[in-house]
């Protein structure tokens, strides 16, 4: 009963209006079927409109915050994943590192540019800890062929 009262109390839930308030009544001879509101959206009840606008603003600010926080969350997530992946070069850590490198580039058109530089450096930092950046002597000499020898010597025991 309470429910019913509340429903009743909140005012009219629905109504049938038989008046033709179509925008172009002259074009129509046949009346709209019962229950059909032509351009009911446009006929904004001022209260409803306000309510809707408030909700929309709320939702928008909420979304904005989400968007604003997303890079940070991503950052945390990425940091966690990188920590989980460890510092050895294998399939998983490579994948994660490359996704970390790729994400900032992919998200360039997006929002929250504040955190982008950090994300990028995070990827590079990860590359370095994985030893994939050529910052060591070994990276520069490991492909050097052995030096040529000036002299040549052969021989051995006499052939039997």
């Amino acid at each position: 009963m309470d429910k019913g009262k509340a429903v009743m109390g909140s005012g009219r839930r629905w109504a049938v209006d038989f008046t033709d308030n179509s925008t172009t009544p002259s074009s129509r001879d046949i009346p709209d079927p019962p229950g059909f509101y032509r351009a009911s959206q446009e006929q904004d009840d001022s209260a409803v409109t306000k309510q809707k606008k408030d909700a929309e603003a709320n939702w928008k600010s909420q979304k904005a915050w989400e968007v604003a926080q997303a890079p940070f969350k991503n950052l945390l997530m990425m940091g966690f994943m990188m920590w989980m992946a460890g510092n050895t070069v294998h399939l998983f850590s490579i994948g994660i590192t490359f996704s970390a490198l790729w994400q900032p580039i992919g998200a360039l058109q997006g929002v929250g540019k504040v955190f982008e530089p950090y994300k990028d450096t995070l990827g590079i930092w990860k590359l370095n800890t994985l030893g994939l950046l050529p910052t060591h002597v070994s990276d520069w000499v490991s492909s050097l062929p052995p030096a040529k020898e000036v002299e040549y010597s052969g021989g051995g025991m006499p052939l039997r």
């Binding site: 052995p146 010597s153 052939l159």
Partner: protein, 954 residues
């Protein structure tokens, strides 16, 4: 994240398709390996013609193999390879079920079961002195009667029971120098006659009771003029010998122990006889052969002892023993060769003019059987005695060249792939599995006669002791061609030619693409180091001898130089016994190339018996009468003299001249760098104290020590010296990149040990500035000279090892990137592959985390032997002597050829096949997967479209 998962899944998918090739699965045997069984050059053969069962021939060979062969097909029923010091002196059969062998200088008598080759008994014979040995198995009519086997060995005559191998009796002859020539059984079977010589002029006959060894009678006679040693027994009571001057034949009759002589001058029998005669070894009744300088004369002996020449053959001839062809008839064969053909003549013993068979066979070093004038089978048993191995590329595929004999059509290809898919999806039935296996083994791919993309197909050029050169295909081991070298054939000028080794002569790849590659065979006329040399060039595509000639100097060393001329012929330097150098090819171009490098070319000689290593430089021309443009004199630069009372050189090893090393840096933990000291001019020398140079156990630990050196062969500088107290040889070593691994016996620990030495360049160690390296301001690629005396450090570590070994080698790959495996030929004639990581001097008991990541294994006192890492899997390479590794074109793979009495070839991937998909990779499965995915995408797309539409309608 999603991307990571995606890539991970893709990798998982790919990984699931590749098969790791670290060890072999049962069904992979024979896919890339082949094994061939041989027995070697035959010394003795006994035809065993059983009434029932398959006919066999029992043979013993120079490789100390005893084998039973199928007389119809030439297959080996069974065979045993005796030890290297266990040479076979004689074989025979006893009681028609045992094969009897006498070996080790007449001291070991063994009986083998004829059908399956199991050893039945073994008997060790002892005697007062070393002597000629003789095996005599009396014939017996009854099969199961216990015959006694008579063996003359170690100076005494033994009678051994053929059932149990017990010595029944033994006689020591009164005269110690008595050499038994023949043992003859008397008709009654109870008496045996033993005839022989004492010294060179006394002839003795002993009459012995066969039952108990009682000496019944002894007669002796002296002949003035003496004997030459060769004997031919022409009847049970008659011998023919030559006198010491080799001009008179003596017929000796010893009927009932009484000795009588009869002299015949050879010049009376053979006209125009001069010089020396030789009695050919034969055992024919009433017939023997005498070889003179001009011909071989066949002489019949009548019962009265009258000699008569029945025939003369103008060539060197060999005579077989007599073989019974019926109850009272015996046949024998004559073999001689002339004009590239072997002539075979089978005759009856009593009737010279009856030719049972007259045959000409093209000359070849095969052992074969002629049956009714047709070669029934032949075996290439020269391959059991390989003395040199090299490789050659196959021809490149060209238009119009018919390539494969059997090309599969599309349908068969599809069918094959469908079978493979079934196999990989575990849907295949037993027949399908067999069909898949058969298909893989018979793959026509691997035996094609053209070069392949991966460089797996090559020709192995092997030189055998008999002077025959073979080209073996690496795919299936087939003999592509074989050639009996004309240069290694006996001629007037070159009496006793022997091959030394085979070298790559011309490997066309840049300038001379149109020319065929060729190899060089170096030999010498005779056995001494001062014998004149022989040169021969062979085209490896056609197998023809291009050119051959005798050299006017001896060959002590052959040094292939790192220089080639405009036709890609490699320059070779030959050092003769006088220490003079001769340059080949003999062309002005080669001289001008060589002159430019003359001052940087050195050579060294190791004189093991003098304990001396000498280094030499070259002078622009040589002294003496041999002076020409291609001869260069040498001067001694340095010498290392080892103290003869404490050190004796037992082994020297150097790096392979064609080894490729990828990098000079070794990256260790924390991205630090060590610079390897990579030089081709290094020599590893191992010496032992002279007392300990014998067998293991001949010296006490206190008096034996092993000293190893690493010597620079340009400057004579000793880079490293280490002493192993209480250790002794034999030392087997391998030298690769900057490391040496060697194997020896530790007398104190009673175990074999292996030690690794790694040499690092300390003078380059300060190249640690990244910026300088980025800008290229470093001295790492500047040429190095041995005279700059680079500072080196060595690291070393030792481990126990279970096996004694016969040979050791290391895998080699095209670019030297792939990690290396050591290939160890074990005493059990198998090849064990061991990762070089086991031989790392930086191993410690508790490696740090970063060292573990680097791949350093925790140190253990002994090296683990993993059964799966035997590359020969279940096979044995009997009499293993050498392991040769050849790089394939595909970096991850290396080809391994192992030779001994048997041959074995396989392909290894020490770091797995990281650069290509395995051959087992199922392309069909991949295709099907892709097609299925595409279909699935379309189906789901259509379904989702439909769903969207219906959603919109709702």
């Amino acid at each position: 994240m999603a991307m990571a998962i995606r890539s991970f899944l893709i990798f998982l998918f790919i990984l699931s398709l590749t098969v790791p090739t670290f060890s072999l699965h049962e069904d992979q045997v024979g896919l890339m390996d082949w094994h061939q069984k041989y027995i070697g050059k035959v010394k003795h053969a006994v035809f065993q013609t059983q009434k029932t069962g398959r006919k066999r021939v029992l043979v013993s060979t120079e490789e100390n193999v005893i084998a039973s062969l199928d007389l119809r097909h030439g297959e080996i029923f069974w065979r045993h390879v005796l030890g290297a010091n266990d040479a076979i002196d004689g074989i025979d059969t006893a009681m028609t079920k045992y094969a009897i062998t006498l070996s080790s200088g007449g001291s070991i008598l063994r009986a083998w079961n004829l059908p399956d080759g199991q050893m039945v008994w073994e008997c060790f014979l002892q005697g007062p002195s070393d002597s000629k040995s003789l095996l005599f198995v009396p014939t017996s009519s009854k099969v199961d009667k216990d015959n006694t086997i008579l063996v003359f060995g170690k100076g005494s005559l033994h009678a051994v029971s053929s059932i149990h191998g017990e010595i029944v009796w033994k006689i020591d002859f009164p005269s110690e120098s008595f050499e038994v020539q023949e043992v003859i059984q008397h008709h009654d079977g109870n008496t045996i006659y033993v005839v022989g010589f004492v010294g060179s002029s006394q002839f003795d006959v002993y009459q012995i009771n066969a039952k108990n060894g009682e000496l019944l009678k002894h007669n002796s006679a002296t002949i003035d003029g003496g004997f030459s040693g060769e004997v031919s027994l022409v009847s049970t009571a008659k011998l023919v010998v030559l006198n010491a001057a080799r001009s008179t034949l003596l017929t000796i009759s010893f009927q009932r122990g009484e000795i009588s002589f009869q002299k015949t001058y050879i010049s009376d029998l053979v006209e125009d006889f001069s010089g020396m005669a030789v009695i050919l070894p034969s055992k024919l009744t009433g017939l023997f052969a005498v070889k003179t300088s001009t011909a071989t004369a066949f002489i019949s002996v009548s019962s009265e002892g009258k000699l008569e020449v029945v025939d003369k053959i103008m060539h060197a001839t060999f005579i077989s023993n007599a073989l019974s062809i019926s109850e009272d008839q015996q046949a024998f064969a004559l073999v001689w060769h002339s004009d590239n053909e072997i002539h075979l003549n089978v005759k009856q013993v009593h009737d010279w003019n009856s030719d049972l068979l007259k045959e000409r066979i093209k000359l070849d070093q095969q052992r074969g059987l002629v049956h009714k004038g047709k070669v029934v089978w032949s075996r290439e048993d020269g391959l059991a005695s390989i003395i040199g191995v090299t490789t050659s590329e196959l021809p490149v595929e060209k238009e119009g060249v018919s390539v494969a004999k059997v090309e599969l059509n599309l349908f068969e290809w599809l069918k094959g792939h469908m079978l493979k898919v079934k196999g990989s999806l575990m849907l295949a039935s037993a027949e399908d599995v067999a069909a898949i296996q058969g298909m893989r083994l018979k793959s026509s791919e691997k035996s094609k006669m053209i070069r392949d993309h991966n460089g797996f197909r090559k020709l192995l050029i092997v030189l055998t002791k008999s002077g025959k050169l073979f080209a073996l295909h690496t795919g299936d081991g087939q003999i592509v061609w074989s050639l009996l070298l004309n240069s290694l054939r006996q001629t007037e000028a070159c009496k006793n030619p022997t091959g030394i080794n085979v070298f790559q002569w011309q490997v066309p790849h840049h300038h001379a693409m149109d020319e065929n590659p060729s190899v060089l065979v170096v030999g010498r006329c005779g056995t001494g180091t001062d014998a004149l040399g022989i040169f021969s060039y062979i085209d490896t595509y056609t197998g023809k001898e291009l050119k051959y000639f005798g050299l006017d100097h001896s060959v002590a060393q052959v040094i292939p130089l790192p220089l080639t001329d405009s036709t890609e012929q490699r320059l070779h330097l030959l050092i003769d016994a006088n220490g003079q150098a001769h340059l080949y090819p003999r062309a002005p171009e080669a001289v001008s190339i060589f002159q430019r490098e003359l001052s940087n070319i050195y050579w060294y000689s190791v004189e093991a018996d003098k304990g001396l290593i000498k280094g030499h430089g070259l002078k622009s021309n040589c002294a003496g009468e041999a002076a020409d443009n291609y001869c260069f004199g040498t001067r001694e630069l340095w010498s290392i003299v080892f103290p003869s009372e404490s050190e004796k050189i037992i082994s020297t090893v150097t790096r392979k001249s064609n080894e490729v090393v990828h990098t000079q840096a070794k990256v260790i933990a924390d991205q630090d760098v060590m610079y390897k000291y990579i030089s081709k001019n290094l020599l590893f020398v191992a010496t032992v104290s002279p007392k300990a140079s014998g067998d293991i156990g001949s010296a006490t630990p206190g008096e034996s020590q092993l000293v190893v050196y690493v010597v620079d062969t340009v400057s004579g500088r000793i880079l490293h010296r280490m002493t192993h107290h209480g250790s002794q040889g034999p030392v087997h070593a391998v030298f690769s990149e900057n490391w040496i691994v060697y194997h020896y016996f530790n007398l104190r620990a009673h175990r074999y040990e292996m030690t690794v030495i790694e040499i690092y360049d300390q003078s380059r160690a300060d190249n640690k500035d990244v910026l300088k390296l980025v800008l290229g301001k470093h001295n790492l690629s500047s040429p190095i000279s041995s005279y700059s005396r680079p500072e080196v450090t060595t690291k070393s570590q030792s481990y126990y090892f279970t096996h004694s070994i016969k040979a050791i080698a290391v895998t080699s790959t095209a670019k030297g990137i792939t990690s290396r495996h050591l290939l160890i030929g074990t005493i059990g004639d198998q090849v064990l592959a061991m990762d070089k990581r086991f031989f790392d001097p930086r191993r410690s008991v508790n490696p740090t985390q970063s060292e573990k990541e680097e791949g350093i294994l925790p140190l253990t006192d002994s090296l683990p032997i993993i059964p799966q890492s035997y590359v020969t899997h279940s096979l044995k390479v009997e009499g293993l002597r050498g392991i040769v590794t050849v790089p394939a074109k595909l970096e991850s793979n290396t080809l391994v050829f192992t030779y001994g009495v048997d041959l074995f070839f396989t392909r290894l991937a020490p770091s797995r096949t990281y650069d290509s998909l395995t051959e087992d990779f199922s392309y069909a499965l991949l295709l099907i997967t892709i097609v299925a995915l595409v279909v699935a995408i379309f189906v789901t797309w259509v379904l989702s479209e439909k769903k969207d539409l219906s959603d919109k309608w709702r």
